[in-house]
Symmetry: C2
Subunit: 363 residues, 2 copies
């Protein structure tokens, strides 16, 4: 029996433009200005619970050198390169099949590479509890974050009955990102938690679930299976992986398992949630980064900047790259972000339009 950490690190991070760009997305950046990238912080967060050879990174070929540089202890054969983006279900299928071939009894924690956690001790306690809960079963355990506001940017997990003698509950349903009115309802109802995208299950459960719900995808990984750990793994993956449906693990598996009575590998399956409160953010937006960053007396969050002078400004988030010097005066509620010759200044409440803003340069 072995525990494995799977980190999904293939995103392009377009909502953090210009700091995060396809050639250097946020998981590879010291977004918080603490001297470690989000990917490094993600691995750090799990402490010593996982040996380096039990840590797996799924990313795209373009980022291989970044992963090797930032995580030198992770063996290169543990870095899986997707030839194209097919959302999270094929990503998890690939890594689950590959791990299971070598470690048939593996239990997996699957985690995004770009989240932020305040209380790491509590985080590790939850992970440890979760691994124990799923190991050797066909269960899936998700972490549910206690909402601190009626956020419309997260999906929600609706919980049902408690599992006897534990802090874990059955999942009744997954709810997509709500409108504000619905978010307020969820926020007031203790049975709703944010879906952090962190979950645990045995590799065998992952494989069985995809075989059940996405048989065509499972057939693709069955074909690839022979090549794992061989010299031609990458070329076989490059040929066959693109045939996978573009579908998230939530749609492909979680929502189909939740609230149902389904048997996988001859054991009763089910999706469960461990409500947790360790201070979490997906750092998905400048706004969420602003929330997580220390602020000066005028509520300006200034990140990674030695040469920034902020005068008569408030409620701004400022991110300066390299040696750039900035003097900012008279700004209220702005994002000011520079990255190697590209500058964004925009109202903080307009950040959902950042894709439009970055595209406006190409006209």
């Amino acid at each position: 029996m072995s525990n494995h950490l799977v980190i999904m690190a293939g995103g392009v991070g377009s909502r953090f433009w210009p700091m995060s760009r396809p050639e250097n997305p946020k998981q590879f950046i010291d977004v918080l200005g603490v001297g470690r990238t989000l990917l490094q912080l993600t691995v750090d967060r799990f402490g010593s619970a996982f040996a380096p050879e039990h840590i797996w990174i799924v990313t795209s070929a373009a980022y291989l050198s970044k992963v090797r540089e930032q995580l030198p202890n992770v063996p290169v054969e543990n870095i899986l390169l997707e030839p194209c983006m097919r959302n999270t279900a094929p990503c998890i299928g690939y890594v689950a099949w590959k791990i299971r071939k070598k470690y048939p009894d593996a239990t997996l924690v699957v985690s995004p590479a770009d989240h932020f956690v305040v209380d790491q001790q509590e985080f590790r306690r939850c992970i440890s509890m979760g691994l124990d809960f799923v190991k050797g079963t066909s269960r899936v355990l998700t972490l549910g974050m206690k909402p601190s506001r009626p956020d419309t940017g997260y999906g929600y997990i609706q919980s049902g009955l408690q599992v006897d003698g534990s802090d874990i509950l059955q999942v009744k349903a997954f709810r997509e990102k709500p409108n504000y009115e619905t978010a307020v309802t969820y926020y007031k109802d203790a049975s709703y938690n944010w879906n952090a995208g962190i979950f645990m299950w045995d590799a065998a459960t992952a494989e069985a679930a995809l075989r059940q719900f996405e048989p065509e995808m499972a057939a693709i990984f069955d074909k690839i299976n022979d090549s794992f750990y061989s010299a031609n793994e990458q070329s076989v993956v490059n040929e066959l992986f693109p045939n996978c449906n573009k579908i998230s693990i939530d749609y492909a598996v979680m929502e189909r398992l939740a609230g149902k009575s389904i048997t996988l590998n001859g054991k009763e399956s089910g999706v469960f949630v461990l409500p947790a409160d360790f201070g979490w953010s997906d750092l998905g937006t400048w706004g969420s980064l602003y929330v997580q960053t220390p602020k000066d007396s005028a509520q300006n969050a200034i990140i990674g900047a030695n040469n920034v002078s902020v005068i008569e400004s408030s409620d701004c988030i400022v991110r300066a790259s390299g040696d750039i010097k900035m003097v900012l005066q008279g700004l209220e509620g702005y994002i000011v972000a520079d990255d190697n010759g590209t500058l964004l200044v925009c109202k903080k409440d307009q950040e959902q339009r950042i894709k439009e803003f970055s595209a406006s340069l190409d006209k």
Copy 2:
């Protein structure tokens, strides 16, 4: 009899930070984004009226290579290097003494290096008329700019009686930068014009005037005189020039000559003004640059920028250097200026504090 153009190009341009900096002040920059620096535009403006060997540049040693690069036709011996800044009277003393040694009958146009003129044909007509007016006399002729607003950033020239048969008037007095109330009074009174700092006189008049009003300074240039056009000119200048008083030509000469009956070189002297209206700005501030720059439909002036996208912004002046890309959203009435890794964003109406802003980086 020969006409000479003297361009004072020693300023450090601190009010245009960060575009203009001591190591690269505004006269050496393509401030208007037209492909020519202000110094080059200044020379261009005089057309073919002055042969290259009759063009003289007074600047500091630090800028020699910039002047040579930007004005390759001007002979290197015509580039005078002040070892330190002593304001305009010593600057003009130096060049007047030196020119007069070689060209005893020289008539000089003295011009700053960093101004802007719209109607160059009218400008040249005024210069030509002015040169004819002073040549062979002891007169000084200044150009008075017709005020287009009650500006508090310029000095004013108060004119008196008209010179028979000409557009030229006697100068009654020079008035320093007024407060707003006084500026309004001046603006309503046709006898007041802006002092553009452009004036004409014979080199002999310049020498006689300094001899009269600043005898110690004149004595210094008399001492330097032997070394002009010799190999040790610069070392003598470096030794003696710093002994000059720090004083402007306005204080040293103009104000003392205006409205008085004084004889220089045995001829009646006097300061005169030619009121002119050729569209002039000293480009002394971001605000004056804003006025002179074409604007988009939202009144944004965007200078020298191929990669700037301005969204829902108005009344801004934007200056981007090199290959920087900028997206600006939701800014009203701001200066956004980048120069090789230094960025300023500030309210346009706070630009008089730019020195404070730039100094705030050094804290």
